[in-house]
Symmetry: C2
């Protein structure tokens, strides 16, 4: 036994004693009820008591109860969460689109040609119809102009700088304030129950990684997303990864199970989404043997957030909503099931 | 505080007490020396005492000593290991090439056309020169014939089945017996010191994932490798990922820093390789601020393993060997630095 273990053990002993003492005091003062008692700390305080919350807690209990028929070893407790519309708000448009527009405006003075060239001209004038008329090629040009050319580190720095200063048009707060409190609690609950929680998003992986740990507690290596190609460059003694103007991978729809296979190599047992872009991830997660769980966040709260589903331009929820009942997926009714939507509304 | 924490705390208290008691007994009986004493358990018993072993241990101590100038928080302790020639033997040829050949022979009865078609005919007849004459296109055809078409799960099953039955031509043992004992100890040591250890290999990611956890203790989600494209398919209620005959990503040479960025999104502080295919990974790891460490396994032991470097067809170590002294990379002399090479030689 190394001496360092001994040193550590004294610390552990002291800590364990302290916790035990606190437990005795807590029990004595009646703060805690008996086993399974209602007074246990609620892991999902921002969820209203009801079928949705009960279903989540029942599933987690089922797979984490040692000796139970549905016990799942910790290394197989993989959970995957969509980001836009599932972990944070995606209205009136994807946050990454706002980042793109702000970058385009910032870069415009260095690109006088954008004053006449499409789709830049239309985008800078806010003419969404003209941009849309250019189709995917126009979108692609705007993405590459704003997301490629620099190194990965420069891009991460641009994201960090933007995300701390940009403000959401409706709530006039940083975009990261629009993470859903109930979903942060769900991520935390699963982590506490030794799930490994991943983001699996159609958004850019290098757009998300600079801030997901601070906002959701999900580290960069557990973020899966869309990507553009990278090229390794060594200049003198300075290596860098250059972001090239070429799509590498689109982590959306049928791309999500592929992204999961590429990055994780295990099949999730828990998945959360909110749109048809999550349909295949939910199928991939649930259509397999063993205990499995999937949920869809249904945006039903126009007052505190937004109400949209089948006809929405952003976050369209149609096929997945049709499949949910037959597949046993939980449809979370934001208005009814969430006590709080955003942390600042508490 | 939830009651479950209290229940856990009693267990922890009991465990901590037991460890503390063991420490008292150990100290009393003189098994342990004082702080930093020589009697601490050796984390690398299969490494000979010498500069290589000392350099590794000194680096790990430096980055894990709390309050030290070079302390690195646990979440940033990323270590990346090449596989072929670094974690297990790659001679007389890559293990995956042996798998390919065995699959080709197994599949040949269902492909009578291979009796006349190249490069299959040459490969089946063991005519390596004729295969080589076909260049990368010939290799590509052989890879796709044996590695694509099936689902990811079917492929994993084929790998699992092969790896448990195939035997290395020289040692007449399963290939997995040819993992290097000193490197397994190094991976374990780093994990114990709360490094997150990844494989970053030119080999196929889905070829490695079925067995890396059992052999090295590295789980599938910490394996980065080359890949072919996957397609999501839903047949009735059965989803699957189909392996397509198209290269997705080559995780070798300048591809390794790219693979690291894609899969991990953090820069390693420790890297291990053995060939020029690892050159850029070692540059990417070490040419950055803060404490960093890289090593090259130099195959110098023709008796217990193999001796090769600059002119080897497999695992060529040339440019990286030239760069090592200037970059401060440790060159591990297998013959001199390793007490044991393979576990079965102990």
């Amino acid at each position: 036994m190394p001496l360092s273990s001994c040193r550590m053990s004294w610390v552990r002993l002291a800590a364990a004693r302290w916790v035990a003492m606190a437990c005795i005091l807590a029990l004595a003062s009646g703060i805690l009820a008996g086993p399974g008692g209602a007074a246990e700390r609620d892991p999902l305080p921002s969820w209203n008591d009801g079928a949705a919350k009960a279903a989540i807690i029942a599933f987690v209990a089922r797979v984490t109860t040692e000796g139970g028929a549905d016990f799942v070893p910790t290394d197989q407790r993989i959970a995957t969460f969509d980001n836009d519309g599932t972990l944070w708000a995606e209205q009136p448009g994807y946050v990454q689109a706002a980042f793109l527009m702000d970058r385009l405006k910032d870069m415009a003075p260095q690109h006088p040609e954008w004053r006449t060239e499409q789709p830049y001209k239309a985008a800078l004038e806010g003419d969404q119809k003209a941009v849309a008329a250019g189709g995917m090629r126009a979108i692609d040009s705007l993405v590459m102009a704003t997301h490629a050319g620099m190194t990965s580190e420069e891009f991460a720095e641009a994201v960090r700088s933007w995300i701390t200063t940009a403000r959401h048009p409706r709530f006039d707060r940083p975009y990261t304030d629009l993470a859903y409190q109930p979903m942060i609690e769900l991520v935390t609950y699963l982590k506490d129950q030794r799930f490994k929680v991943y983001i699996v998003s159609g958004g850019g992986v290098e757009f998300m990684r600079p801030w997901t740990e601070a906002i959701y507690g999900i580290p960069p290596e557990q973020v899966v997303g869309s990507s553009i190609k990278l090229r390794y460059e060594l200049t003198g003694d300075s290596p860098a990864l250059r972001r090239l103007p070429e799509i590498d991978f689109i982590d959306d729809g049928p791309g999500k199970p592929v992204g999961i296979a590429k990055a994780i190599g295990r099949r999730p047992i828990f998945a959360a989404g909110n749109s048809d872009g999550d349909l295949q991830m939910l199928q991939w997660t649930t259509l397999a043997p063993g205990p499995r769980f999937a949920l869809l966040v249904h945006h039903t709260d126009a007052e505190r957030e937004w109400a949209y589903d089948r006809n929405s331009a952003v976050g369209k929820l149609d096929k997945a909503l049709d499949e949910a009942p037959g597949r046993g997926w939980l449809v979370v009714n934001m208005k009814a099931d969430w006590k709080t939507v955003f942390p600042f509304q508490r």
